[in-house]
């Protein structure tokens, strides 16, 4: 029974991660073709062993080699990493004070505050991003308001720039940052802070020496939850971003839809996955070693 329960996450991982990964990997090794589906070779199981053998003998790495022949792909990866890093940092900057205030709020207020953070999820993500188009456009609410108050005399161009992408990402992913940080801060023992103050710490020092280190697991979790989906983000840059917002999600879309080149698109996706997974594994191993060292 126990073994069965432990098995559940593995089955989940196998069906929803490893099998799709295998399919994408397989397509990334085949060649483009004008057919349904538009690549060759396809695995002909009906031909038995001969079909499988023919399939494997025709595979090669040329799609991966192709990716190195054009600097577009590296630039798109780097630009995505940059956008994801900056967005994660900005989300942390906005999210931490909110989580902190929530955790310090009176106990009876907390469920209501938590509700307010989760509430936007009840509206479709797409509609919320569309709403930002109405707010940020040249004739939009923000510009009209700023013109009305006299802060600016010419409307600002925000929509279709990277600024709009950052606003969209920070807005969309903010709850993913707030919730884990709030969870760790809320569990924090308040007597630790009292003890620190008794021992002569200023409130500022107590924050840096006690609160922040204890909040670290929440911060790390929040950063991962924001960074990983942002790296492959497609919807926000395509709705709010300009034509020069270069992200790997868009490049992948173009390979898949404009070039109809499923194999190259799959190769791009596999590389993206490797770029994500390897640092995460290294980071977790590092965490593990630190933990063991502490014990």
């Amino acid at each position: 029974m126990k073994r069965l329960l432990i098995g559940v996450p593995f089955v989940w991982l196998f069906v929803l991660f490893l099998v799709p990964f295998g399919i994408v990997l397989k397509i990334s090794l085949s060649d483009i073709d004008l057919a349904i589906p538009p690549y060759t070779p396809t695995l002909e199981v009906s031909d038995g062993w001969a079909g499988v053998a023919a399939f494997f003998s025709a595979l090669d790495l040329e799609n991966y080699i192709f990716l190195t022949s054009d600097d577009l792909y590296w630039k798109a990866y780097l630009s995505s990493l940059q956008i994801a890093s900056i967005s994660t940092f900005l989300t942390l900057l906005v999210g931490f004070p909110i989580a902190y205030a929530m955790a310090r709020a009176a106990e009876e207020w907390r469920p209501a505050l938590l509700m307010l953070v989760i509430l936007p999820f009840w509206t479709s993500f797409l509609i919320r991003v569309y709403a930002w188009i109405g707010i940020l456009s040249t004739e939009g609410f923000l510009n009209q308001f700023l013109l009305w108050t006299g802060v600016i005399s010419e409307p600002l161009t925000i929509l279709n720039t990277n600024t709009a992408v950052y606003i969209g990402i920070v807005y969309t992913y903010l709850p993913f940052m707030i919730l884990p940080i709030y969870a760790t801060l809320e569990k924090m023992d308040a007597s630790l802070l009292e003890a620190a103050e008794d021992l002569g710490c200023s409130r500022m020092q107590a924050f840096w020496l006690i609160t922040l280190p204890l909040a670290r697991p929440g911060v790390v979790a929040g950063c991962f939850l924001v960074f990983i989906p942002t790296l492959g983000e497609f919807v926000i840059p395509s709705l709010l971003g300009g034509s020069d917002t270069l992200m790997i999600g868009k490049v992948l879309w173009e390979e898949f839809f404009n070039n109809r080149d499923w194999p190259v698109a799959s190769a791009v996706a596999i590389i993206l996955l490797l770029i994500l997974i390897i640092p995460i594994i290294l980071f977790q191993r590092n965490q593990q070693i630190n933990k063991e060292a502490q014990q």
């Binding site: 395509s238 034509s243 270069l246």
Partner: protein, 361 residues
């Protein structure tokens, strides 16, 4: 959106296996039909109509090439149709079930034959040109009364577009339509496969790129109508719809459309039935319904696009059939060119060039 489409397809694929005879699924361009027609079809035939929309040929083509889209009727543009036919994505039409096909216009049928020999797989829905929509007041304010609003000079001459950038310029996100226009601007064959010439057209686009606010294939209708932008290189009927919406909103925005005088691309959106359509019989009924002279006229009167249906012309309103931006004069028709499907190698050059134009990389 991607996620939504994916789930939608998944749901449709699931339902398709249990397709009932009284359901037809149509996948057409956005803002491309009078919705009253859809209700009329349901009332006349008792068939439930499920109507989804897309805004790029690439999205449709990917669905067709993936197979199992679950749609009964789809509407690709000529050059895309041609490639999908050779991939085996469509079934030959049964003209016995399409008596209204007698209404079709020979002039258009002759031109669509280059994509669909003998017009065996498709019938024309609408056709139009790709050209320039302007907010007349804003553009003349910036460039003066003699602004070249009917010429590619307006969008491809850096001197002009640099000034127009302050009020906003949109361009179609459709490389296979914009690159031929740039080739026309430099006096080359718009349908060339010559990579050097295509790159020369790319230089034209790279020079104007910094002044283009966005490359997008549907947002410009609202953006033009609201006065957010002043120039759009887009599809004829979409720009005329923007004109119409601005009129209705009475916001003082006046929109004009012109097919560029140097030569404009003429495209054809063709209705076809996927090879794995769950309900081909109902699909034929839908095609036949649309080809009815009055129905087709109602569709054109609503979306401001010309159609390939000769019999519908007496039912067209004067501001449709009488507007040379929709039904061009014979003289202009001569100057319109029809695009061709690119071979994969040239397509890759074009897509790569387009990425460079859009992102600068």
């Amino acid at each position: 959106m991607k996620i939504k489409l994916a789930t939608m397809t998944a749901v449709i694929a699931l339902c398709a296996s249990a397709a009932v005879a009284d359901e037809v699924r149509v996948y057409n361009w956005s803002d491309y039909i009078d919705e009253a027609l859809l209700e009329k079809f349901e009332a006349e035939t008792g068939i439930e109509l499920i109507y989804d929309v897309f805004d790029s040929n690439e999205v449709l083509e990917t669905k067709m090439l993936a197979g199992g889209s679950g749609y009964d009727v789809v509407v690709p543009t000529g050059d895309f149709l041609q490639r999908q036919i050779s991939a085996g994505a469509f079934q030959a039409l049964d003209f016995d079930q399409l008596p209204n096909s007698a209404n079709l216009w020979d002039l258009i049928k002759d031109r669509t034959e280059q994509y669909d020999p003998d017009n065996a797989y498709s019938v024309n829905y609408m056709w139009g040109t790709t050209g320039i929509g302007v907010n007349v007041a804003k553009v003349t304010e910036i460039l003066g009364e003699d602004a070249p609003i009917d010429s590619l000079e307006l969008i491809f001459n850096p001197a002009n577009i640099e000034k127009l950038a302050q009020c906003g310029v949109y361009m179609l996100d459709a490389p296979t339509e914009v690159i031929p226009a740039a080739l026309t601007y430099i006096g080359e064959d718009p349908n060339t496969f010559d990579v050097d010439l295509i790159n020369k057209a790319g230089d034209v686009l790279l020079a104007v790129r910094p002044h283009i606010l966005k490359f997008h294939s549907s947002e410009y209708i609202n953006a033009l109508a609201n006065g957010d932008i002043c120039v759009a290189f887009g599809w004829s009927g979409d720009i005329l719809q923007a004109r119409d919406r601005a009129d209705e909103a009475e916001n003082g925005v006046e929109i004009a459309y012109n097919a560029p005088k140097e030569g404009a691309l003429m495209w054809f959106d063709q209705m076809a039935i996927p090879v794995d359509a769950p309900n081909p019989e109902a699909a034929h009924m839908f095609l036949n319904f649309i080809m009815d002279a009055q129905n087709m006229a109602a569709a054109s009167n609503y979306v401001y696009y010309a159609n390939g249906n000769k019999a519908s012309q007496p039912f067209l309103e004067e501001d449709v059939i009488g507007d040379p931006a929709i039904y061009p004069s014979d003289e202009t028709l001569e100057k319109l060119y029809t695009p061709v499907a690119y071979p994969p190698k040239v397509q890759r050059v074009i897509t790569r060039l387009w990425t460079k134009v859009k992102s600068g990389t």
